[in-house]
Structure formats: structure tokens, C-alpha cells
């Protein structure tokens, strides 16, 4: 089929009352971003759906890109033809035949925006249905659960027919819920947390701590590569790399081994919160899952969370590791996450971290440090980059190497 248009139906948008315009504009912008490689596609956002005129772009490739856009309930590739009954009938039959196998049922569903059109909805349904039945005598019509559903839309500029509807990513358009920071380690959980945040419309900015020479450059590349994977859902994501070496070394000298991890996490959270404030974020997301490791017991969370009143959202808090892994596989970050590069969480991990740290002790040990100075220096050297979904940082197929193979 030579599709001319893709019709996009909005997700939860329809329930959002006065914010509707804002949601549609944001979705429009996000769709524009992912369709950047197809400049010929025209986007027409309407009140209850969005029409993408393909102008020759490949429908399959465009739909593949739409797959990652939150705020889309489903979409149908369709064909525009002149508003003539003969042409409509012929194309409808062709679309049915493409999917028909003995025993399958069908339905014709018409919507009419152009009320000047000579036939009304029921007349069109009947006429086209009769035409299909007369050419496929064994086919049964079925109104409730048809196997094949041909949708006909009579608009001012023509008739639009479609026979397939694909589910979109659901959720809300990224950006409609505001901005937040995501603490991205490079493990399995934090990218999943980022995905879930974006699914609910949050625009995220990555905060990644790196500690050269304790962590290799590859650990940083891995975090960036993960960001690029997630950028498929947002077009692009900003990435903040925060130097953490001095802080880790200082903590290691000043703080007893059992509290190394707790104090370290408090400093990470302080830094993230400072960055959030600088960048006008509203909340902080992370990949903590209750009880998974020493720093993620409720006691630890309490002792760490103590440094800020900013909402800290933990989308995977109550998921099992297997559930998180399934999601990571679904969004394509799992393979990357399990690549074994030392990250800053593992490298200074004490042999026996406190699983039930005491808040007063955590505060007391942290007070031994020049927290303000440490944070200021780290912030001063924080680097911001913008990462797009097409970018590669890790084991990117080096062309020189590929040419050798």
C-alpha cells in the first residue's frame, strides 16, 4: 500500500481540559524532533488528532520513529483519495483483500467531517460494505469485534482510508509535566527510572558522577550511550557530568568505612539538588529499588534523603529486579547496562557498608567535611552536553575498523 498520511490519535490528552493546547503543542514539537530525518513530512496538529502528510516519505520508517513518542495512543497509516464513491469502494475492497483469509470478518467504519458530502455515514458504510461483500461473497460483517476494520474519513480535502491501527507508546508528551534531574549511574535501574519518568511527561536531564582515574572513560561513555538510547523517547537529552574524584577521596580519608557510602550518597544528592536549582528543575528521579542494596534500604534512604526537601521520585522503588530487567530489555538499555565498566558507585564501596545507617551519625560524619567547598568546586567543573538519539559513544562502529572487515 502506498500510504499518503499517518493519522495519530492522542493518548490521555483528551482528558486534560484547559491544558490541552499545551499538550498538543508539546506533542507536535516532540514529533517534529523525531521526524527530523524526514523534512518532507508535514505535521498538522488538530484538536483531537494529528495528521502527518507523508509527501513521499516511507510510512514504515516514519511509524518506527513514532513508536517512541509518548502521548500517542495509536496511529493508522492511511491513503488519501478523491471523494468519489467508486474510488472509495475500490480502495476499501483492496484493503480488505490484503488481509482477508477465509473465515475473517470485517467492518466499515466511517466518520464524516465534511457534512456537504452527498452521502451520510450510514449510507457510506452500507454502500462500501455491500461492495466488499459482493466481491468476497464468503466474508461476514461483524460490528463488535471485526478481524478487519476499514476506517473511512470524509474530510474537506478528500477521503482517507486506513485498515491498520498500531499502538503508540502511551503516556504523556515529554515536557508537559515539567523538568527534573535523573541520577544516572550506568546500571540497569536508573535508565528504566528515566524511561518511566519520561513516560509520564517529565523532561529529564541526566546527572552523572565520574571519578577519573578510579573510573575509566568507558564508564562515562556508557552513561552517555545510555542517554542516547533514552533520547529516542525525547529527541535529545541534556547530560551533566559531575567530577566526583575529590569528594570521594576526601570522604575516604575523613569518614569511617561503614558510613562511606551513606555520606557519599548524601553529597551526590546535594550536588544533584544544586544542579536542579540552577536548571529550574522541579524534582529528582533515581533508580533506587527498596532493599536492593545497602544504600537502598529504607533506613539508608532516610539518612540520604535528609539533605533536601525536593521531591525525590523513585519509579522502580517497588519493582523486583526481574521486572526492572524486563523493562530494560524492552527499552533496549539492558545490554549496555550490563557492560562491565567500573562506575563510581562500585569503586569505593566499603566491604561492609551499614545497611541501617543512623541519621545522626551520617550528619555528624558529613559535618567533618568542607561540604560547601567540595560542592562548589564540583559544580564549577560540571560539563553540560546535549545528546541526540543518533549519537554513539561506546564501541561505536569505528569506520576505519569496519572498513578493515
Amino acid at each position: 500500500m502506498n500510504y499518503t498520511e499517518i493519522m495519530v490519535r492522542y493518548g490521555e490528552l483528551s482528558t486534560k481540559g484547559k491544558n490541552r493546547r499545551n499538550f498538543i503543542d508539546r506533542l507536535h514539537g516532540n514529533v517534529e524532533k523525531v521526524l527530523h530525518p524526514f523534512p518532507q513530512v508535514r505535521i498538522h496538529p488538530k484538536r483531537d488528532r494529528m495528521h502527518l502528510t507523508l509527501n513521499g516519505a516511507d510510512a514504515q520508517q516514519v511509524m518506527q520513529r513514532l513508536q517512541g513518542v509518548f502521548g500517542i495512543q495509536n496511529y493508522s497509516p492511511s491513503i488519501q483519495i478523491p471523494k468519489e464513491m467508486a474510488a472509495i469502494k475500490k480502495l476499501a475492497l483492496q484493503m480488505v483483500q490484503e488481509q482477508y483469509q477465509p473465515g475473517k470478518t470485517f467492518k466499515i467504519a466511517t466518520r464524516r467531517a465534511d457534512h456537504q458530502f452527498a452521502y451520510d455515514t450510514n449510507q457510506i458504510n452500507l454502500a462500501v460494505g455491500d461492495y466488499v461483500s459482493s466481491h468476497l461473497p464468503d466474508i461476514q460483517a461483524e460490528m463488535r469485534h471485526p478481524d478487519i476494520k476499514i476506517q473511512i474519513e470524509i474530510r474537506l480535502d478528500g477521503a482517507y482510508l486506513s485498515s491498520q491501527t498500531y499502538s503508540g507508546a502511551g503516556g504523556l508528551p515529554v515536557g508537559t509535566a515539567g523538568k527534573a534531574m535523573l541520577m544516572l549511574s550506568g546500571g540497569i535501574d536508573s535508565p528504566v527510572a528515566g524511561y518511566l519518568a519520561m513516560k509520564r511527561g517529565v523532561e529529564i536531564e541526566m546527572v552523572h558522577f565520574y571519578s577519573p582515574p578510579y573510573t575509566s572513560e568507558n564508564a562515562l561513555f556508557k552513561a552517555k550511550e545510555l542517554t542516547a538510547r533514552l533520547a529516542r523517547y525525547a529527541g535529545r537529552i541534556r547530560f551533566l557530568q559531575v567530577p566526583f574524584t575529590e569528594i570521594q577521596e576526601t570522604i575516604k580519608q575523613e569518614v569511617p568505612a561503614g558510613y562511606l557510602m551513606t555520606v557519599q550518597r548524601r553529597l551526590m544528592l546535594r550536588l544533584t539538588d544544586a544542579l536542579r536549582q540552577q536548571r529550574n528543575g522541579l524534582a529528582i528521579f533515581n533508580g533506587e529499588s527498596v532493599g536492593q542494596v545497602a544504600s537502598q534500604t529504607l533506613e539508608s534512604m532516610a539518612a540520604i534523603n535528609d539533605v533536601t526537601t525536593t521531591p525525590i521520585l523513585r519509579p522502580v522503588a517497588t519493582l523486583d529486579k526481574t521486572e526492572i530487567i524486563r523493562l530494560a530489555e524492552h527499552i533496549g538499555t539492558f545490554d549496555l547496562s550490563i557492560q562491565p565498566f567500573e562506575d563510581c558507585c562500585t569503586i569505593f564501596a566499603p566491604p561492609r557498608p551499614k545497611t541501617k545507617p543512623r541519621l545522626d551519625k551520617a550528619r555528624e560524619y558529613e559535618a567533618r567535611l568542607d561540604t560547601t567547598g567540595l560542592i562548589q568546586r564540583a559544580l564549577a567543573q560540571t560539563q553540560l552536553t546535549e545528546i541526540h538519539s543518533e549519537e554513539h559513544f561506546l564501541e561505536s562502529e569505528n569506520t576505519e575498523m569496519v572498513n578493515l572487515l
Partner: protein
């Protein structure tokens, strides 16, 4: 020169050799090293592995590099024996395998393993029913070659696989050393296969490198223990230049594969059709699709195979007496013996093995020389 001994080895392709040299010069770091020289070598290695995996529709994690076909066969067989000996000590194979398989099994027999060697028919092919009858409760491995290296017979891999579907715990190994680049993949690959052995120098790659496919979830004990390379399965510093060269050779071998196979098919037909017109000639290879397109084995009765080989050599035509590996030891062909070919005929057998670079003109010249040699023997006898 006419080179008709491609089953023994193939000439390395110039661009493959160039890759070998360039990788040796540019990416000579140890892939396990942590610095950037190591990183680059690691990247090179990963790219090569990815390419090999994707060319054969495997996952990168299922490819393990070896030193070649013999190591691959030894590893899968002995590795399975070590890994699974508590579950059983019985192995099934055919009576026409390469020595790397047969002699590995002889070693295991000395350790108390039991081996069933399946008989073959006149074409060198096993009967799947015999395999079915041979399976026991304690069978841990079935090892069957895809393409016989001496006569070119393709074994009924799919039929074997359907039987082994009922015995999911048995490792199914296919020695596919002779089978790559001959447009035979659909005949010799089956999803039931757990392990496959490949060797680079059979498809214009360098010597001393090969790989095995090990299906995800299947495990064999390492044969070479050490520094833990290849996911701890096969230690030893990775041979990056040879691996990259092999990846290139494989890509080239699979490009235009069907056309190349078609060409070899034509040459095979040209030769076999002619051989059929000669007296006192016995042909062991067939023209049907259950024989590989590149191998023709035949006997000029009354002359020893090595005499024929040397007679051709005088005209700068190179072929071999059946398997090149065993030809120097003077043993008669294992495959022909299993096919119940009488000894005096088997010792007369020679093997022509083609590749895509051979031409119809070469085959015409070959046939002319063949006629002279044949005529000479006829007179002598």
C-alpha cells in the same frame, strides 16, 4: 597453475591479508589491557565478532574464537565430555568424520567413554533411523559433520535434528568446516544444533584461526584454561589480526555465495559428466543437491592415488588423494572404507576440490590431462 585442492586449504585473499597486516600494525594492543591501546584492540575484536555473528544470524555471545577446525572439534567433544560426564558417557558420531573428531573420540574411549560410529550407505550418508536406534539414556553428544571432506556428501542434518528434538539434553555438534560459502546454509543449519565448528583457511582466510558457534544456554568445559578470555571459555590472548581477517574473509565468502556455488556446480557437472564416459573409473561423489558443489572424488582404477596426484602435478595441476590431512600417512580413505569401497579401489581415489576462482577453461585443461593420464594407465594395464 590450476589449483583444485581447495578442501585442503584455500589461498588467502589479498584484501584479507591486507586486513591482517593493517590490524597487526594498528591494533596490536592486548584486548584485555585497560589502556586505550587495549580498548582499541577490544573494539576491533568486538566489531569482528559482531560481523561474524550477524553474517550467520547468530548472537555475538555465541561466537568463540579458536585456532581452527581441529581445535573446535576437539573442544566441543572433549568439553562436552568433561561438562556432562556425570549425566552419561555415551557419544554418537558417524564413521566418516574428520580425524579431529574421530581421534578426539578415541582419546575419550581410552578414558572409558563409549562411542557409537554410525554406518553410512554407498553415498557416504548415515541413515537417521540408525541414529534413532543408537540413542541411549546416557548419550550426551551427537557429532555429525555437515559436508564430508573426502567425497562431499551432505549429511541429513534436519532429519537428525528432528530426532534430537525429543532428546533436548543431548548436545548436537556439527562440524561445518567444509560447508561455508557453498550456498548450503539452509541444508546444514538447523535451530536444534548446539555447536558448530568453522575454520578460516577453508574460505580464503588466514591459517590458525577459526571459531565455534555455541548456542546460548549450552555449556562446555574449557579445553584451554588460563587468563579467562572469551568469557572464560577459551583462554589465550586473542589473535586480533587473524580474527579481523577471518571476519572479512567470511563476508567475502558469503557475498555472491549462490552465484559462486552455481559456478562450482557447473564445473562439477562438467567433470562428472566426462568421468562417466571413461572406462575403469569409479565416481564416489554425486551430482545431486545432497552433495556439496565443490568436491569430486573418483578413482582411476589400476593406479595408486598418489601416482595420479604426481602425474597431474607435472602439468602444474594440484589435487589430492582424498583427505590432505591423512594423505601423507598413507592410510586409505576413512570415508571410502566406510562406504565399503574395496581397498584396491580406495587407494586409487583422488579428490578434486573447487572454489569460486576456478574456471571452465581450467576444467577443460584438467579433463585433457586427465584423458592422457587415463589413456596411459589403460595401456599399462
Amino acid at each position: 597453475m590450476i589449483y583444485f585442492d581447495n578442501s585442503a586449504t584455500t589461498k588467502i585473499a589479498p584484501s584479507v591479508l591486507a586486513t591482517y597486516q593493517q590490524v597487526s600494525e594498528k591494533y596490536w594492543g592486548n584486548p584485555s589491557s585497560l589502556h586505550h591501546l587495549g580498548d582499541e584492540a577490544q573494539q576491533m575484536l568486538a566489531s569482528a565478532r559482531r560481523q561474524i555473528a550477524s553474517l550467520l544470524h547468530f548472537d555475538s555471545k555465541e561466537i568463540y574464537f579458536t585456532s581452527g577446525g581441529s581445535e573446535g572439534d576437539n573442544w566441543v567433544i572433549k568439553g562436552t565430555a568433561m561438562e556432562k560426564q556425570e549425566f552419561g558417557r555415551h557419544i554418537i558420531t558417524t564413521s566418516v568424520e574428520h580425524a579431529a573428531v574421530t581421534n578426539s573420540l578415541h582419546q575419550l574411549e581410552k578414558l572409558g567413554f563409549k562411542v557409537t560410529y554410525l554406518p553410512v550407505d554407498k553415498q557416504g550418508r548415515i541413515n537417521p533411523a540408525d541414529l534413532q536406534a543408537a540413542v541411549r539414556n546416557d548419550t550426551i553428544l551427537v557429532s555429525v559433520m555437515a559436508v564430508n571432506n573426502e567425497v562431499g556428501t551432505i549429511q541429513p542434518i534436519h532429519a537428525i535434528a528432528r530426532i534430537l528434538d525429543y532428546y533436548p539434553k543431548i548436545h548436537f555438534h556439527v562440524d561445518a568446516v567444509q560447508a561455508l560459502g557453498k550456498n548450503l546454509w539452509s541444508q546444514i543449519y538447523d535451530p536444534r544444533i548446539d555447536f558448530m565448528t568453522f575454520s578460516a583457511h577453508k574460505f580464503h582466510g588466514p591459517r590458525g584461526i577459526g571459531f565455534i558457534y555455541a548456542k546460548s544456554g549450552r555449556k562446555i568445559a574449557p579445553l584451554i584454561a588460563g587468563g579467562g578470555q572469551e568469557h572464560n571459555w577459551r583462554s589465550g590472548t586473542e589473535n586480533t589480526p587473524a580474527i579481523a581477517a577471518m571476519a572479512r574473509a567470511l563476508r567475502l565468502a558469503l557475498t555472491d555465495e549462490s552465484r559462486h556455488a552455481q559456478l562450482q556446480n557447473q564445473l562439477r557437472e562438467q567433470l562428472i559428466t566426462h568421468l562417466k564416459t571413461l572406462d575403469n573409473v569409479q565416481i564416489f561423489s554425486g551430482l545431486t543437491t545432497d552433495f556439496a558443489p565443490h568436491i569430486v572424488c573418483f578413482a582411476l582404477k589400476g593406479a595408486r592415488g598418489e601416482t595420479t596426484v604426481h602425474a597431474f602435478e607435472k602439468q602444474e595441476i594440484y589435487l589430492s588423494t582424498t583427505s590432505a590431512c591423512s594423505s601423507r600417512t598413507g592410510d586409505e580413505s576413512v570415508t571410502l572404507k566406510a562406504m565399503h569401497v574395496p581397498d584396491q579401489v580406495a587407494t586409487s581415489a583422488v579428490r578434486v576440490s573447487l572454489d569460486e576462482q576456478n574456471t571452465p577453461a581450467e576444467m577443460t585443461t584438467f579433463i585433457q590431462v586427465l584423458d592422457q593420464i587415463h589413456q596411459h594407465y589403460q595401456v599399462l594395464n
